[in-house]
Amino acid sequence: MSSNQQVLVDGFATALAIPAEQVTDTLAYNSIPQWDSIAHMTLVAELESRFDVMMDTDDIIDMSSVAKAREILGKYGVTFD
């Protein structure tokens, strides 16, 4: 697992207060009670600070799954290989 992937998983686990094993690519917004609109803002703040980026409105709104988060972070130059 690449280190950025590790950071991403940690970021999700911390922001949503869930175990890291639960952070899979298919984990989606509103699919678990822990990832609601409130946690979403915590998550955005967490990822922004961990990857030192500042996301646009559309990206915050579109960040609806773990896979999507990776894709969006990619636009800001964060690489996951």
């Binding site: 922001a15 207060a17 009670p33 822990q34 609601d36 609109s37 409130i38 946690a39 979403h40 803002m41 915590t42 955005v44 703040a45 646009d56 409105t57 915050i60 709104i61 579109d62 609806s64």
Partner: protein
Amino acid sequence: MFFENLSSFGARTALIDDQRSLSYRQLDEAVLRLQSELPGWKSLILIQADNTLDTVVAYLAALSGGHCALLVDQGLSAEYLEALISLYQPNVLIREALVTHCHDRQLTLAENLAVLLSTSGSTGSPKQVALSFGNLDANAASICDYLPIRATDTAITTLPFQYSYGLSIVNSHLRSGACIVLNRDSVISRDFWDRFRQHGVTSLAGVPFTWEMLLRLRFTSMELPSLRYCTQAGGRLAADKVETLASWAQETGRQFFVMYGQTEATARMAYNDHAHIKPGAIGCAIPEGEFRLCRDDGSDIGTPGEEGELYYRGPNVMLGYAESVSDLAEFPRMSWLSTGDLAWFDDEGDFHVSGRIRRFIKLFGQRIALDDVEQILSANGYRAYAVGSDEGLKVALVADGIGDVSEHRAWLANTLGLNASVVTVLTVADLPTHANGKPDYPAVERLFDE
């Protein structure tokens, strides 16, 4: 009454959801149809409310039939719902389009009793604020007086229907013949903004948390040509954030209103329409309302800058509280409403809230009584003290080695229906108490600083 002239707005659009749209005439017809299914005498109608067309119709049918509507969050747990039903014995239950008749016993209900609203949100306390028809009408009238609502406006729901601020937006727009987009999604969702743009929404309302989310979404850089004004209530938004939003509004030819109220005053007591100059103020009392500041000994404060407890008087002050159906028969006359807030006024007569007397916090606009939280914990075998601020709930508990902190936290957040991010739990060996055995809350607060 604001709900009596619906048909006079004719073909204007009243309500829009994702499937349907109703003109005022159609809304009036739908209300009359449902009203004919309700008892012919004053009854208690429990509505499991959500921001849906059916909820609005049910609410209006109850009001126009002269009934009393007990509005309950549709997401309330079955356990709390059962408890409410057994305490209040509603004649009819309505959930969306489903009408269930429970019993035909005539309850003794005060003639002017219109709505029962919970103040405690998710703690499931059965205590209700009883509002009269006059209260609802006074609130809708005062809102229409100081907010620039026009018949051509379109609002979008951003708050729970059964929450007094949310309800007040519905009432004031129906009174004005304006349109309401019934939305159930958060402001951070794509669907919300699609609806916003599709229907050309002209005003936006939010509690502090909503505005914090919107600021994080870079709200002030969004292209929203239809938006004319915004309102904020339901707790205190940090002055720097108010300043950002109020200045943005000023620069873009919009208005940003900071408002102050509580359910006991049918949502509204004061508004500040010059938040770009005074972001920390709640402003002046609404039309027909009046503030008074009192010292501990009950004497009036007449000088600027001196802090005291804030009292309010006006036609929107509730009938009273209720804990069960027997409290609904009659209400003692209330004069001044004690807000529980500490405040002062400045040289220009603008009021500023500086603190709180009673032990409650406001999370996401909803009031959470810390004593209720302790009761829930105690009922579940915890010895615990709850403290906190509008930033979050903090609980110190004695776990006797059972479970770990994250489990207790997850359980409590789930029980209270709160996101775990605003709940902090600390396990302690002993709870801090004063010599007389009463909780030492400042010491509890300090535990979280260590």
